[in-house]
């Protein structure tokens, strides 16, 4: 029973290696391998194939996809909150007085819509998105593009983000360039979410670009930050699409709370002043401007 058997083909060897051939047939294969260089080489190649496949690094999720999913997720959260809120209480008319009725199980650190509304007046967010998108892009809610998104709540937010991701170079932000990692990771975005700088600047429409530049240039040591709420995160990600987030800062705009959001694309920075009620599903932008980036361009 030495070399009697014909050479093994790849399928048989692969099945043997996977433990699918045992018993007498398996014993014959083992015996054949013991005396056949050709089949032994093939067997080694099969083993090598597995190490080769295992050695290919798993691709990290591109930032553009991650941001798009965050928008969709924020929309899901917002929808669920809305449903729960409606269930809990519906009178919320003038919006000025709100009693902190506990409508969630205690101990959750989850964001409550109520808390946010109280906080909001203190924290206006300024959003600056880097060039590329004109003002028309701000009204994302009116986009007619649709996608096969499974989330009805995501309509308005997610499909647009998806469409952007597709039209704007599919996986990479156009300005991501060849380097990745620390350099290109948007400053304000961490794996856990978005950081909001708690600022006290009172911005105004006139010369908004210069005021935004001043906020961008403020040294990090002079700032205090907090994590963005789910609503803020949805708002910011919805505004910036796949562009690189530069700054999210709570400010005053014309004396009222707002959030400054700045994002960058190439040599341009785009800035939005978002109203406190801005969310993934409700884009309320008070003002917007575009400026040449002081960092990467002329």
């Amino acid at each position: 029973m030495r070399g009697q058997m014909t050479h093994l083909d790849t399928d048989v060897l692969a099945e043997f290696r996977a433990g699918l051939i045992t018993g007498r047939r398996g014993a014959r294969i083992t015996a054949h391998l013991g005396g056949c260089e050709r089949c032994t080489a093939l067997d080694e190649q099969l083993a090598g194939l597995r190490s080769l496949l295992a050695s290919v690094p798993a691709p990290a999720m591109p930032d553009s996809v991650a941001q798009r999913l965050e928008v969709v997720l924020a929309a899901e959260v917002a929808q669920r909150d809305a449903v729960q809120e409606n269930r809990a209480e519906r009178a919320d008319g003038d919006g000025t007085r709100e009693s902190p009725a506990p409508r969630r199980p205690g101990g959750n650190r989850g964001f409550r819509p109520l808390t946010l509304r109280v906080l909001a007046p203190v924290a206006a967010v300024v959003v600056l998105a880097a060039g590329g998108y004109g003002l028309s892009r701000v009204n994302l809610g009116s986009s007619t593009e649709s996608s096969t998104s499974a989330g009805s709540a995501a309509q308005g937010a997610a499909p647009t983000a998806a469409a952007r991701a597709k039209s704007g170079g599919s996986v990479n932000a156009p300005n991501a360039g060849p380097t990745r990692g620390a350099l290109s990771r948007p400053q304000g975005i961490t794996a856990a979410g978005i950081t909001v700088v708690t600022g006290h600047a009172n911005l105004s429409h006139a010369d908004l670009g210069q005021q935004v530049r001043a906020e961008l240039n403020m040294p990090a040591s002079a700032r205090t930050t907090r994590a963005a709420t789910s609503t803020e995160r949805g708002c910011v990600l919805g505004l910036i699409g796949h562009h690189q987030l530069e700054l999210v800062e709570s400010v005053l705009f014309e004396g009222s709370p707002a959030t400054l959001v700045v994002a960058r694309s190439g040599a341009r920075d785009m800035a939005w002043l978002a109203a406190p009620e801005c969310s993934a599903t409700h884009r309320h932008v008070l003002d917007t401007t575009s400026l040449s980036s002081g960092i990467s361009g002329p």
Binding site: A14, L20, G48, A66, L73, P105, A162
Partner: protein, 202 residues
């Protein structure tokens, strides 16, 4: 994986079901790179993968209450992603083939990491070879050989038997070998390989 400070997967899922607005996001972010890899390699197309992952995430978000804990949370998440990916492949098969996608998809796959050329070459070849496989074989191979899932876990993810997983793996490897043997450094490619693919059907 999770250190002491980080809540376990099932705990995050429980909090999500209980109404915590941030728990699901934390859970999803924790596993997103692997979930992305599964979708991307099963679909071989970044745009399709992103769509599939979005479908899967929304589905998991809404159906979390259905999770009964008979498997690990990661198994459950992977199953949803794999199913969303295979669904897309089925739908795509029903459509006329797009001719434009492949090269762009390749470039995107390579470009996304800015990898040095060598890694990219290997990855390109592997990605190209994966396309030769029927979807079910591809999904199995990705889970077992590329992402390191055990046969048992893979069977749970795909809701099939370990024997089926093994045989799909074997067929997939046999089919890939002729196309990838040249990447295995010192061995000479053609000489000993007889690409017998006679019985290689899905």
């Amino acid at each position: 994986m999770p250190d002491e400070a980080a809540p376990a997967d099932h705990e995050l899922l429980r909090r999500h079901v209980a109404g915590d607005a941030d728990a699901f996001g934390e859970l999803f972010r924790r596993h997103r790179d692997r979930l992305w890899a599964v979708a991307l390699r099963t679909l071989c197309d970044p745009d399709e993968a992103a769509d599939a992952l979005q479908d899967a995430m929304v589905s998991a978000f809404r159906r979390a209450a259905d999770f009964r804990g008979e498997s690990a949370v990661t198994t459950w998440l992977h199953r949803i992603v794999v199913n969303a990916s295979l669904d897309r492949l089925r739908r795509r098969a029903a459509r006329p083939a797009l001719s434009t996608g492949d090269e762009q998809a390749f470039e995107a796959l390579v470009a996304q990491d800015g990898d040095p050329a060598r890694t990219s070459d290997t990855r390109l070849d592997v990605d190209a070879a994966l396309r030769l496989l029927p979807p079910q074989q591809r999904a199995v191979l990705v889970l077992v050989d590329m992402l390191g899932f055990s046969v048992a876990d893979t069977a749970a993810i795909l809701d099939t038997s370990p024997g089926t997983v093994k045989s799909r793996c074997a067929r997939a490897r046999a089919r890939l070998l002729p196309h990838l043997a040249h990447l295995q450094g010192n061995r000479s490619p053609g000489q000993s390989v007889s690409p017998a693919q006679g019985g290689d059907t899905a």
